[in-house]
Symmetry: C2
Subunit: 351 residues, 2 copies
DNA sequence: TTTCAATGCTAAATCGTTTTATTGTTAATT
DNA sequence: AATTAACAATAAAACGATTTAGCATTGAAA
């Protein structure tokens, strides 16, 4: 059961392979192939279920129809895995396949990966970039290979990106805590100079400053073992007994925090209010349910892929910069409610 | 900055491309190329940072170095996303890239996907198979394309697979609940004839029968909307007020169950004991923490990839059947403890 | 001196497409 | 009758590698 080649079907029909190729690529009209022949070829191709050899096409055209999706860690993040899923699905519909890999937020690993793919294997990249790969991205763009940054961008280079309004949504989330009467709101984050992290912090600080509340920030180490971070967080909380609310910069930090809160036998929200950036399925289920800033996954994925396809199809050049910012959603749940007038699980859009 | 071809480096060195190819493929000795020339070529290749065009190699050799990983839903399952990550990493180390996609447990979608890839794009498949794709898999194997089934197998065909001992681990989990003094233990599952689901149910039934306890089973619909399943589960629990423990067949069913338990204001484990198949990060964090059967992800991934690589490297033929069964772990947490003698978060290996 | 084997390297075919340039027709115009 | 235009289809080169079969050269054996 060997696969048919275009040569086989040409021979079978007594037609040249050129003709077959033109017809299959929808150039019948343009190349003035007669309608009769076009139909004959199309029918036969359909009948014998012929599909072209993708590798040969890729070699000849220099286009692999492969998109590479590089996320921080596909396995450990609700947001990334959802986005990955969406992208994969939409790409398929448009005739593209998706190769994916995890960067671990490590610039060396990411550089390696890009280098590995450099040899025209990949038509386009979607990346949640660690800092330090600016040069590699510029090189790709210079070769007119599209790159879309997701979730964050790299301020030192000009590159298309899709992300949420981290500053505004963080501001609103903090404001929500303030409105609920929390006084000592700590911001728990990781040591990072990534744009989305900076913006979230700026949002928190701006809201606190505007209300004249004290700023209280603790930074953890992304690369440290989980137990170390939990311990750090615990001693921080013990050192600040007057704390009455915690704003976690990501959902995994919030997970660490919940572990600590639990071990200290604190009640949420009576003893401590809780709010997290990045919603997960856990937060809805947790007892009490956790208020979170949700990133609209569908919209983000749609925008990423649209930009990618438009660039691949030549509507834009890779170097053209399109930066899309999408409003995030504050989903208010039990963990942040002191004022009982606000209904459970209500949704508030920032903006 | 055009990419160098093997022709360029041959020309540059005044050597034929044949020679260069032999040397690059480690056949210098075999083809009796002199050591001096071998070194000269290798040094030059290193210096100019030449890498071969993957597409041309693929076209010529018929091997793409691409593995396709088809899981049920990459975005919504702790187990699958972890496995995906592991596979990706190990495959990379061995010079393979991973394409991934979600089957949605839909046989038509899965067939489509396999068909799409049929044209020697993919060297090997790792699949968590929906039922109904037996024929497609047999076809692949007949063409000597390796297929490894993961998480479950298809009883009607002969195919390599890697999965946990669903029957034994489910038996032990049930036995654990019985040992804790629970009397009316319900088994909450989805309507499915997949092997892993059947085996889990058989394990529950066997343990219950051996202790002379009543069997109580409720089946939900995987494809129904979540709200529908939650409602179903709620009315089931209301209809069985004497129920004192629930064994959930998967973690997402357990999530539905926790939502119901919460809405009924039942206390875990005082009013109802809870145990779930498939651990997630949620279960450790939940209050109270949830006892679960954990699948050893590392071991599963290792075995899958080892089988795949051994077949790709010709150590086995695709048709050779290797069925690997790995023991699962029962992680005992608060939700199933009545007998306070057992320590928290202790780990019991089945077998 | 011829024959043979070993050594060191290469020409050319091949994988399955796309695409450029070209060749025959026939019909219309000069 | 000769030129041109439009039409319909094709031959052959190219993409960049791998691999088969073979070509020179040298030294040793016959």
């Amino acid at each position: 059961m060997k696969k048919l080649s275009i040569r086989d079907i040409g021979k079978e029909l007594g037609v040249s392979i050129t003709t077959v190729s033109f017809i299959l690529n929808g150039k019948a009209k343009e190349k003035r192939i007669s309608e009769a022949l076009t139909k004959r070829v199309l029918d036969f191709v359909e009948k014998v279920n012929y599909t072209p050899n993708v590798m040969a096409q890729a070699l000849r055209t220099g286009k692999s129809k492969l998109i590479c999706l590089m996320v921080e860690d596909i396995s450990n993040n609700f947001f990334f895995s959802q986005v990955a899923r969406q992208i994969e699905e939409k790409a398929h519909i448009n005739g593209y396949r998706v190769i994916f890999c995890s960067t671990d937020n490590d610039k060396n690993k990411t550089r390696e990966l890009i280098k590995l793919f450099r040899d025209r294997l990949i038509d386009g990249y979607i990346i949640t970039p660690p800092e330090g790969i600016e040069k590699q991205i510029t090189n790709l763009l210079d070769d007119n290979i599209p790159v879309i940054l997701a979730d964050r961008n790299l301020p030192d280079i000009q590159c298309s990106s899709v992300m949420v309004d981290n500053y505004e949504s963080s501001f609103h989330a903090t404001q929500h805590l303030i409105d609920q009467g929390f006084e000592q709101i700590a911001y728990l984050a990781i040591e990072s100079t990534q744009t989305q992290m900076r913006d979230r912090q700026r949002g928190y600080e701006a809201a606190m400053n505007r209300s004249g509340k004290p700023i209280l920030i603790k930074k953890l180490d992304y690369y440290a073992p989980q137990s170390e971070n939990v311990a750090q967080l615990k001693s921080f909380m013990l050192a600040h007994p007057t704390l009455d609310a915690a704003f976690f910069a990501t959902n995994y930090i919030c997970n660490w925090g919940l572990e600590v809160i639990r071990s200290l036998n604190l009640r949420i929200p009576q003893d401590i209010g809780v709010l997290s950036y990045d919603d997960t399925s856990l937060f809805k289920l947790y007892n009490p349910s956790i208020t979170a800033v949700a990133q609209p996954i569908q919209q983000i994925s749609d925008n990423i892929l649209k930009l990618m396809l438009d660039t691949l199809n030549g509507k834009f050049r890779a170097q053209d910069v399109h930066q899309v910012v999408i409003p995030a959603q504050l989903i208010v749940r039990e963990s942040s409610i002191r004022n009982t007038l606000i209904p459970k699980d209500s949704t508030i859009l920032t903006q």
